[in-house]
Symmetry: D2
Subunit: 407 residues, 4 copies
Amino acid sequence: MVGLTLSKRKISQALDLVPRMKSQGYARPCVERRRKWLEQKTGCRLINVGAHSIPSDEMRGNVENPLGAAQTPLGVAGPLLINGLEAQDIFYVPLATTEGALVRSYERGMVALTRAGGVTTRVYIDENRVSPVFLFESVGEAYDFAQSLPDKLENIRAEAESTTRHGKLRRLECHAIGREVIVNFSYFTGDAQGMNMIVKATEQACRWIVDHSHARRFYVFSGFSSEKRASGSLLAGGKGKKVIAGAALPKQIVKSYLHTTPVQLCDMWHHTMLGHVQANAIGYNGHYANGLAAIFLACGQDVANIANSAVGITNFEVTEDGDLYASVTLPSLTVATVGGGTGLGTSRECLEMLGCAGSGWAAKFAEIVAATILAGELSMGSAIASDEFVHAHETYGRNRPNEVSIQ
Amino acid sequence: MVGLTLSKRKISQALDLVPRMKSQGYARPCVERRRKWLEQKTGCRLINVGAHSIPSDEMRGNVENPLGAAQTPLGVAGPLLINGLEAQDIFYVPLATTEGALVRSYERGMVALTRAGGVTTRVYIDENRVSPVFLFESVGEAYDFAQSLPDKLENIRAEAESTTRHGKLRRLECHAIGREVIVNFSYFTGDAQGMNMIVKATEQACRWIVDHSHARRFYVFSGFSSEKRASGSLLAGGKGKKVIAGAALPKQIVKSYLHTTPVQLCDMWHHTMLGHVQANAIGYNGHYANGLAAIFLACGQDVANIANSAVGITNFEVTEDGDLYASVTLPSLTVATVGGGTGLGTSRECLEMLGCAGSGWAAKFAEIVAATILAGELSMGSAIASDEFVHAHETYGRNRPNEVSIQ
Amino acid sequence: MVGLTLSKRKISQALDLVPRMKSQGYARPCVERRRKWLEQKTGCRLINVGAHSIPSDEMRGNVENPLGAAQTPLGVAGPLLINGLEAQDIFYVPLATTEGALVRSYERGMVALTRAGGVTTRVYIDENRVSPVFLFESVGEAYDFAQSLPDKLENIRAEAESTTRHGKLRRLECHAIGREVIVNFSYFTGDAQGMNMIVKATEQACRWIVDHSHARRFYVFSGFSSEKRASGSLLAGGKGKKVIAGAALPKQIVKSYLHTTPVQLCDMWHHTMLGHVQANAIGYNGHYANGLAAIFLACGQDVANIANSAVGITNFEVTEDGDLYASVTLPSLTVATVGGGTGLGTSRECLEMLGCAGSGWAAKFAEIVAATILAGELSMGSAIASDEFVHAHETYGRNRPNEVSIQ
Amino acid sequence: MVGLTLSKRKISQALDLVPRMKSQGYARPCVERRRKWLEQKTGCRLINVGAHSIPSDEMRGNVENPLGAAQTPLGVAGPLLINGLEAQDIFYVPLATTEGALVRSYERGMVALTRAGGVTTRVYIDENRVSPVFLFESVGEAYDFAQSLPDKLENIRAEAESTTRHGKLRRLECHAIGREVIVNFSYFTGDAQGMNMIVKATEQACRWIVDHSHARRFYVFSGFSSEKRASGSLLAGGKGKKVIAGAALPKQIVKSYLHTTPVQLCDMWHHTMLGHVQANAIGYNGHYANGLAAIFLACGQDVANIANSAVGITNFEVTEDGDLYASVTLPSLTVATVGGGTGLGTSRECLEMLGCAGSGWAAKFAEIVAATILAGELSMGSAIASDEFVHAHETYGRNRPNEVSIQ
């Protein structure tokens, strides 16, 4: 730490930029030099930060001013039997976290689900979007623009797709507000998360639109798309994959593995739903963010996408036979098996663990994520319903770990 | 990967649990054995997963069924001059991310802010909450309970605080719905995030309350507290720290460093605010989740808390002199400098880099986080206002990195 | 008033139903008898209630147990010049209200708009919806249902339209949640509000669907349609008409008539938008409900539809020339010129005043409503921006009316 | 109707203001002259509009440019037994509406509730608010202001209360956003709705605050208070009265009067709650707006306040004995028994019918409104659960009224 408050006069001298280096300094010696500079500047030691196994050269395109790598404890939970359209197997799911009891809790849910016959998963929507806004002189001009846009779809598609081999423009949708029009561009992006790809494509299309309309200007982002933000409109889908996972669990399994009953779980759902409503929550869920963070981090997903992906709806119902039907609906899950951080060191290994590394596996990976989230909701919901929540965290949490066994 | 769909008959044989080991298997050989088991089971290699520098024994309390660690590229951005009540210095901020251009973008914002005289930060609220719900027979009983609760505050506090040395119960607040009453327990939790601590305390208090009222039962979670979930009520604060960061930037600095003008930034704000409103967003922000994810991951925070922490409001205004005033308001920032993952390997080093490792620094850390978020909002907002967003991602992103320099 | 608390034993004797009469008692003597009965029962006099000009026989289908009519003071505001696609004229708008200053305020906005060249109006969407939900055994069955629904559209349309001459089924849209599927039925309903019509049509279609699918059952209302409720999803349209009204106002007119400047109005917009965001408001508006209530009440609309119709977005912008552009966007305006209360006494006269009585005028009426709302937003916004709000209410409000003149 | 589109040149000639008259023209001949002028202008006849029994002089302070009165059919529903703190009696509730079946539906709910022993009602909060925003130069100044505000409470109260005999300032609450601070002023307003009263008081206080702080300026409305708008923050109360009404209904009564069972009602609640969540609704309710509109209109309330009053939460639960517990929670009910339109003709008579006319009855009236809303929720919910909804509207609606009887 610099250690003292600087007078204004001294500030300009002290404003040392992070050192600029040849080719932006991704070579190992450059990274080391940067680390040393920072150690000197701040008086701290960065030994663990330097102890990474990802070649620093491979970090280009993922980070700038590289120092090394952050390490997060990685555990595994399973077995998790999934009966999806893409994922049809038993899985062991890697989870990176620092929250004690999380892995054990998800594991508990997975074992219960698997014993009950597994989780059914379905992907309803598979697309991503960018939502530029076009500005006009008047309400009349905006209206004429919105009316005529469908006729221009093929030209717009041609412009957009000229910039990408993978992105496919599926639909345009207008939301007019006063004299401006938000145009939602929906794309299929293959196995990539695809934001960079489709923002570039959309910007290209927007330039063409401005040249062929009365639009005064555009902003490539209108705020509508809800990338990396929570919003109510995410519930309708369109930002990433809409995935649903559900399972029927006989009441005996609910009792043995989850220490509660279908009726108690539904009562808990009812009352905690009221709490969500009172809080103006978006959707209803116990802790999607926990499972998403752990699996995103393990598998090289962009963890900032938790903000949109954690929007969804968990449901518990008692069936006519008195058993449990549990489901999770994730309308805006943004996951990828290519691009971003998916190819780096531990991320690639974790995706391989799931049979999801590389092209062709994004939908399968989405199904696995949804099934994992279901396991977490089931386990946490049961802990609340049966008053075991505190006990579980006492047993596995940071402060007071004890010896325990699980069947 | 197991590689073939199993017939129902074979499932029960195949349901191998993750191996159970002595003392839950945190010793290095145990971790290695578990990793080998998984490699065999899934047919993948976990070399990088095993290449960590955190002693596996130290992972106890943070993860179960440990395999090793996930690695995320770590960069640094700065200098960032902060004039807070707790943070008063120039900082270099560690950011773990796999999104190309992110570190460079935050760095750009930090340099502009620092050249402009730095960021002012203030912590308004510093507490965390648990919100159990109590169930009654009738609307009348629920009403009587809520009316009489203030009289029981001292007893309730005594019960709650009997379980913790650090948590202090500050306030109770009732939200009645029909014949049930959600009671919001607000605590000061020192430098810890504190959820485990205060859930335990609250459960203890709830048992006492049930014994001393007509409550039929309680659920320790009502869903109201919005832990790790986005909700509108987070804007009012109470879940973590409410922190505000703001800065005035002369128009010349906006021009030189951010390539736009205060008027353009405000116009962009106006139109993207409309997009947020159209999307039913909570609050308004460009990409809080990006900066939060990067700094949380670097500094051992619980990344699942992004879900609540990313709720907030960014504001850009033109001052009477034609300069820019920019601010971010984060009402629900949950950060810690003790407990959770803060003490592990790279996390502790990153906190030390900021002078925030250990007790006494949580408020300071919160101010640094808020100032960092402001830098990101400023830089991204400017990129949108000046149409440079795509260019920046092309330059630094995964696909096509070029040589670039920055002043 | 009955005047004393009754003991439980006496309750059953005292439970007098409102008297049942021949043909449900719409004839004038029946209404009188009912009124007398109630006067006796409650000890009050209902002289004004009986002093109505609507023949009580004509109330059949609009009210049960009729007593008479409620009277609300009715004023008029104008002139309002509208350049719409349907409304192209100068209008004088009837407003029924008990809020002093309201008519004067709307009149002020109308005069300013008219002097500025009038209001442009456009109807983007013209439909209404019912959203039943179908329940299934499993996530898999729900998925198969949603996938196959498009193939059944023609059958479903035939069933739905068999019950109505006016309603036309336009689209179906699925929202799956776990093992259930909400199906949004979008209809064109001509000049009627149409809820009764399309609920009946939808129920008919639902019975067919249940017979031709694996659905266990359906509820004709899922809660999704947001009829007479505020919800975020209303911003996307589909519940009634999406109408936009906008106008450019030279700064001189803003100054003369509204006593403020375009810059001040936009500054006010900016800061009050932040207040809306902080309040978790849906959309942004000053007081749509005021104008909607007054015109709905005058023109025989269902005033309960204010709950959905008052959702929208007001915008104020400074143009490049320093003038004002003002707009309102009402995505969910439910209005009618036939059916409901539109044909009764004062309602029909008020619709005639606008040239909107009977078939063929619903879109025109919607444009007039939107232009009226714009006038109200402009006037109230200006009063806030120029600190005249309190003064105006002092001048015209209930408590202290003075002599005033307006140019 | 004017009948032809006017050329721009002719517009200025045609812009006839509504005639200005002596003392603003409230005398009967003035009103008649205005009506004649409008009949001539628009070519319509306004016979019913003129057929009112409210003396036009008494309309001063409630409407400007008076033409006469709007008439709405008025029915009555009951008996409704209420066991409140203020309302303890059997009531017959006046409902003004044009929606066929509405009165019958509420009546059905009331009879069921009364047979079951009546409705329990409680008022939790009784206040109203105005939320000005204060603007500062910097985040630091805003922070200092918010910190020091509690010390100024007595001065602020003195200023505010100097303008009113009835309004009492209860609390101030700050919501800082960047460099501005919204200050929520909470008042007790007696039996009046009180907005005019407390806006005036608050403006007075704001002037004092600006003189005694570094605030650059204030806006008396920040948008936060949610007057006549729906917002999530209304659920926490503070805008009007928070009232809860609940009742236990034996399953036999549910069966006989409502044709459904407690289990079916709860199942319906569960699935329609999901629909509300999917729609981003605020709270959960079947059709509060219907009942509120009808009783507000009958009793001279400001119907625009439906926008905030219709926010709330309905709940249905099965008790341990298999009976039903039903409740409604209305956190933001704005009702009055003095001021506004409460004293006019039919309004006063309707309030008298409930024993609520004049001072001292606002809380009682709020309880009656809440109990009425409960009746409507119960009846409509049952109609959905038992698939009788369409049938009921067919029977009583506008199009096809039949002979029916009800027990």
